[in-house]
Symmetry: C2
Subunit: 312 residues, 2 copies
């Protein structure tokens, strides 16, 4: 219940209250929605940065260093790492913990891993809600770190103000990035591990394709920032490119438009989730189970059965 979490303490930044609030929301406890509604007026101040890219691009290290950078400017940083947990580890992986340890002990940084597997949809909803909790608790910067290539369920571009796509020279050329749908979501690219061979060529290839985009002098031009996150090289460039993008969003009015779009998608998701929960009651679940064998043997079709369930 909401009275087990002290909203005033949460708003003042109390870490235990934050942790409990996120669990509360993550487990979809009854009352979570009222709690989030009560919190909502206190949100909207934090700047949300999405960090995504293929596995092995060094996103965790980069997120860690970026958090340190913002800390050095006295900003409080929340990190939400979407962690597709494995059924045989059943939790956040050791690797992350090790790499995140540089900021873990810092009171001004709050790190939370959220599992993507096993959650029946609703992940992007929960991730945004966790971000709202951190936002209300006074965190200035929220970093979402996620493996995202292709049409990810957690479409990070739908939760962030600025989306950074992290690649490495081995990620393939610009055509590959385009194929993976990364060009559309990237507000800018980071070429990490840029001390490796092929880095300049990879940067050029991305820039070339970015150059084909329709744009005029008022529109945003996505760029490529080179980093070697493990040595802290280029982290300040990520921060300054983010600032440049933030200024562009504000100046152009795109910031409000983007947040409005995200809000719309969010409400659509809340409604879909509610429908699903309400629709799939015990009776309908049983009915579906009973019909499965008939559909498998082709005496019925999925469409008939769906229609019948909807009519019930």
């Amino acid at each position: 219940m909401t009275n087990t979490i002290d909203i005033q303490k949460l708003l003042s930044g109390d870490r235990r209250s934050i942790a409990r609030a996120i669990s509360f929301v993550e487990n979809e406890n009854a009352g979570a929605e009222q709690f989030l509604s009560a919190l909502y007026p206190h949100t909207g101040k934090a700047y949300r940065i999405g960090i995504t890219g293929p596995p092995g691009a060094g996103k965790s290290t980069l997120t860690n260093k970026l958090a340190k950078h913002y800390r050095s400017q006295s900003m409080k940083v929340g990190i939400i790492a979407v962690d597709p947990t494995s059924p045989f580890t059943g939790g956040a992986l050791l690797g992350d913990r090790v790499r995140m340890s540089e900021v873990e002990m810092d009171e001004g940084v709050f790190i939370r891993s959220m599992a993507s597997r096993g959650s029946l949809g609703g992940l992007s909803k929960k991730t945004r809600e966790a971000a709202d909790i951190l936002d209300a608790a006074g965190f200035n910067i929220i970093l979402f770190e996620t493996v995202g290539v292709g049409q990810s369920e957690l479409d990070i571009a739908g939760a962030a103000d600025t989306t950074v796509v992290v690649l490495v020279p081995e990620s393939g050329d610009g055509i590959q990035a385009m194929k993976a749908g990364l060009m559309e979501i990237a507000d800018f690219f980071v070429m990490n591990k840029s001390d490796r061979p092929g880095a300049d060529q990879a940067v050029m290839s991305i820039k070339m394709i970015l150059g084909f985009r329709a744009h005029d002098e008022h529109s945003w031009m996505a760029d490529v920032v080179k980093t070697t996150a493990s040595e802290g090289i280029g982290i300040d460039s990520i921060a300054s490119e983010t600032t440049r993008h933030r200024e562009y969003l504000t100046r152009s009015g795109e910031f409000e438009k983007r947040r409005a779009r995200q809000l719309k998608a969010r409400i659509e998701e809340i409604i879909s989730d509610k429908f699903t929960v309400t629709f799939w009651n015990t009776e309908r679940k049983q009915k579906l189970e009973l019909e499965l064998s008939g559909i498998l043997t082709r005496s019925r079709t999925p469409y008939d059965v769906a229609e019948e369930l909807l009519k019930k």
Copy 2:
């Protein structure tokens, strides 16, 4: 309407009918569902193989070669490539066309690209429906090729009988694959471009983590197959590993269970899609638009507005 596509011609494998049927379904024309219902009794014979992995892993080349392999055994092969098209190309990319050209002129191969961006959900539904069309038209093998890392909306594991995850030595180690959620969906791994340095080490690292999985002598042991797809090396190993997996599925009864699970998910998706289409009528869309500014300024919350829309 369904009468514009001759079902008998489609069932006999007529290419124009297939192409039109897929477009018909893809564009969600009225009558698409009746059409699919009529087709459904003729489906279920094709074996469905998902080929997924990070961008740049060489999935297109590998798919191409695998199609050629099955053709050499007189099987008809359908390829469904999920292609996150870019807003500035607006279609399938040249790269694919070039790489696919080896099998493109073959009458026994049917290739279809489906765009993932811009489609408001429902992609996995459409992909499965396209596969059903090819299945009914007498294709023996259906290859889904998709960029899929993390919680992809088109969860290929939900559409395929056997899911192959393609990695390259540069994709990162086993921990990275685990983090990306690939361990759960892979029925086996392919280490492509295995002539590159670090291949053996990468294979070892994946095998080591696979070894940690709980299993007994009756359960399936995912393995790693080494290939150099561009030179055709190891393609027969992919085919034989797929056969081995298929035999395991049949022997263990897992095949029926898996198809039943997929069917359930499919019906859930049909129902969600129908709900969304019905729910978001003009009146509700307008209402949402009107409320957005109030939510952005925090005088209302997304939850209130969702509740109100649901009550309407």
